[in-house]
């Protein structure tokens, strides 16, 4: 498992970086404070989560029909719909459209799916400039990096890092003031928006009933990308479709609250087609690329299917103790964190086989997930699958743990043995226990007490 060795190494490096941890804790701390506040103010939050999950469950169970309905609706209004079996065909389609339209510059709204298909290098190879316009994405693009978070791409950078970057790349005087830095980006990107011939965005939801794409954002760059250029291309995974317009409010009531602690994001765009006769603006031509890339294999698997409910809100990253310790880049995958660990192995295959092991299974991701995806269960399932194919040599310590667990399982069946065992343990540690804690145990029992204290077993415990 070369991937795992690389991950262990990257994670170890990252965990030695206290500055990275400060930035991550700062950002995730903000998120939790906001989330707690909006949840307290909105009593139906839990009910809306359950409803959202039910709708996703039903939608995923009828994906084929819903996607056919979505396609028919959009095509009736002149939108060109392309189903891409894999990343290469999606890239090829978009580059081809751009070439045909003589596009020289593309402005992009935030889209993890276009990261997944690695669109930017393909566009650049064709001589087309691809400009990321979400501020965080723009920052990581200037640094030739990948986003380290689904929602906050530049979470790993400080305002000083970004100040230095802008001084170098945008030739502005150095400042670490976020307001001034944002204004500088606005100025540069405004020109790009007005001169680009093509806009590309991701999709948060696609309503089959009406053939409407819903794009959620805060900055207004999504509005620009979907409105101003002559050609607009939307890119989504097959799992984004939902049945009815009436389903939408349930998702929108939980999405922003969970993702950023907002009640609703600043802009929610509903796009149903290109410019109509008589309209002054909007794209003259519109395309939708619907990507499979391993998702249908997840659909066929009764356990993995649940991973397709994901709204890409990014909350599980913030909740995950591993992510908060090492950041997104150490995972080495487009989608980092808990959700990345369950979807990546199916999207990129062996290159992500290590990710299901990059978790402590603490369950914080499942707690925060707006559609209650049982991520720990899927992680365990993927670990089991990864092991199934191999004849794994059990390590000596794993064999000891297994033997110990067997003894315990046997003893626990007889209350008197369990009681006697507890009594004996208490008697044995009595000489070395102080105030209810054992600080040091003799070898070979000292692995635990080398790093932390052990609670002394009480007398007469059952």
């Amino acid at each position: 498992m070369a991937g795992f060795v690389d991950f262990s190494h990257a994670a170890e490096q990252a965990s030695r970086d206290p500055e990275l941890r400060r930035k991550l804790e700062n950002a995730t701390g903000h998120h939790f404070a906001n989330l707690a506040a909006v949840k307290a103010e909105f009593p139906p939050y839990e009910a809306e989560r359950d409803t959202s999950r039910q709708i996703k469950q039903a939608a995923i169970a009828h994906l084929d029909e819903l996607l056919a309905e979505l396609k028919a609706k959009l095509e009736a209004r002149g939108v060109k719909v392309f189903f891409a079996p894999d990343c290469a065909s999606a890239r090829q389609y978009i580059v081809e459209v751009a070439k045909q339209k003589g596009v020289r510059r593309v402005v992009k709204g935030k889209s993890m799916t276009t990261e997944e298909i690695e669109l930017n290098p393909a566009l650049e190879e064709a001589g087309i400039e691809a400009v990321e316009t979400d501020l965080g994405e723009y920052i990581v693009q200037l640094r030739h990096e990948k986003p380290s978070h689904i929602i906050t791409p530049a979470i790993h950078l400080s305002k000083e890092d970004i100040g230095q970057l802008f001084a170098d790349k945008l030739q502005i005087p150095y400042t670490s003031d976020p307001t001034v830095l944002t204004a500088a980006a606005r100025l540069t990107l405004r020109d790009k928006f007005l001169s680009a011939q093509m806009g590309i965005s991701g999709v948060n939801f696609a309503v089959a009933e009406t053939g409407t794409l819903v794009v959620v954002e805060n900055e207004g760059n999504g509005r620009f990308c979907t409105t101003v250029p002559e050609t607009y291309v939307a890119v989504m995974g097959i799992e984004k479709v939902i049945p009815k317009l009436a389903d939408l409010s349930h998702f929108l009531e939980v999405l922003a609250r969970t993702a950023t602690g907002q009640k609703l994001s600043a802009y929610t765009n509903f796009i149903s087609g290109p410019r109509r006769p008589g309209e002054a603006d909007g794209p003259a031509e519109m395309h939708l690329v619907i990507l499979d890339n391993g998702r249908s294999a997840m659909l066929a698997d009764p356990v993995l299917r649940e991973a397709l409910y994901c709204l890409r809100c990014g909350a599980c990253l913030n909740a995950c103790p591993v992510y908060r310790h090492i950041g997104g880049h150490a995972y080495g995958s487009t989608y980092p964190g808990p959700i990345g660990s369950i979807v990546s192995p199916n999207l990129v295959g062996n290159a992500a086989a290590h990710l299901p092991f990059a978790s402590t299974l603490c369950g914080a991701c499942r707690e925060i997930c707006p559609v209650k995806i049982d991520i720990p269960r899927i992680l365990l399932y993927l670990r089991w699958k990864a092991d199934k194919g191999r004849q794994v040599a059990w390590s000596a310590s794993a064999r000891r743990v297994r033997a110990g667990a067997r003894w315990f399982a046997w003893a626990a069946r007889y209350p008197w043995i369990a009681r006697a065992g507890g009594w004996m343990a208490a008697w044995l540690v009595k000489p070395i226990a102080h105030a209810g804690w054992v600080r040091r145990m003799p070898p070979p029992f000292n692995s635990w007490t080398k790093v932390r204290d052990f609670p002394a077993p009480g007398q007469g415990q059952d």
Binding site: N26, H30, T51, Q54, A58, A61, H62, L63, D64, L67, A68, K73, F82, F83, P85, S89, L135, T152, A154, K159, P178, T182, R186, R190, F193, E209, T210, G211, N218, G220, N221, R223, F224, T227, I238, A246, D247, L248, S249, L252, E253, T260, K263, L264, A266, Y267, F270, I271, S272, G273, P277, E279, A280, D281, G282, D292, L299, A300, P302, R305
Partner: protein, 235 residues
């Protein structure tokens, strides 16, 4: 096999391979049924909640009692903000002559959008100091404006200029998003695009510090007009 058939066929197979697993049939989600027009007694409460939520997002909300007051407020604001040029949406529910006169009186140049900006549309909008549009609905729960585009209502007039003025009739404020989607309905959303606007453009991408006005408007002024029936008689 063409890619579309290939993907849809894969999905069909994937779904049939798990036929043994119980599949939930889709049941229409229960959406909160809300009367289209809130009873008058509730209207004040909805308006108060709408204004409070939107102000919490650093937008400015000015509640007016008559159309005449709204026109005066607009001209006053435009003057104070130093707005020299303004794009005005073509189908507003305020009387055009009064509005034009008030704005001209403070030396503000008016472009009727989209009528007078057809050529090179977005570049023309980028040169304007402000845009004035009317929202279809307000959402009290989140302080949100629902704006539908149409031939008379350009998509980008509320996006490109730095200052965004939005008119909203008080009786168009509904309790929540479900009520707004319900009222607008599938047919209208199929015909034209909509955007929900909840405060001015914002970002937290640099160390989670809130900054307003990234790409969209830096400042959002919402002028709440009296309910449509009373306003029509006054002006």
């Amino acid at each position: 096999m063409d890619p579309t058939t290939q993907v849809l066929e894969r999905l069909r197979q994937a779904l049939s391979s798990t036929n043994g697993v119980a599949q939930p049939a889709h049941q229409p989600a229960p959406i909160e049924s809300t009367p289209v027009a809130a009873p008058v007694a509730d209207r004040a409460a909805l308006q108060a909640q709408f204004a409070k939520e939107l102000r919490a997002l650093s937008a400015h909300v000015i509640e007016t009692a008559s159309d005449r007051e709204a026109v005066a407020t607009l001209a006053d604001l435009a003057g104070k903000l130093g707005v020299r040029s303004i794009g005005v949406g073509a189908d507003l529910s305020l009387a055009a002559p009064e509005l034009e006169a008030a704005l001209r009186s403070i030396g503000c140049e008016i472009s009727w959008v989209p009528r007078q900006a057809a050529e090179n549309f977005t570049h023309r909008l980028a040169e304007l100091d402000a845009g004035l549009v009317e929202a279809e609905h307000g959402i009290a729960l989140t302080g949100t404006l629902a704006m539908l585009a149409s031939p008379g209502r350009a998509r980008s007039l509320s996006l490109i200029p730095k200052v965004s003025f939005v008119l909203l009739r008080a009786d168009r404020i509904l309790p929540n998003l479900a009520a707004v989607l319900n009222t607008i309905g599938p047919a209208r959303l199929e015909a034209y695009p909509m955007v929900l606007v909840t405060g001015p453009s914002r970002t937290g991408d640099i160390e989670k510090r809130l900054v307003l006005g990234v790409h969209g408007p830096t400042a959002l002024y919402v002028i709440v007009l009296p309910p449509s029936t009373s306003g029509a008689h006054e002006s």
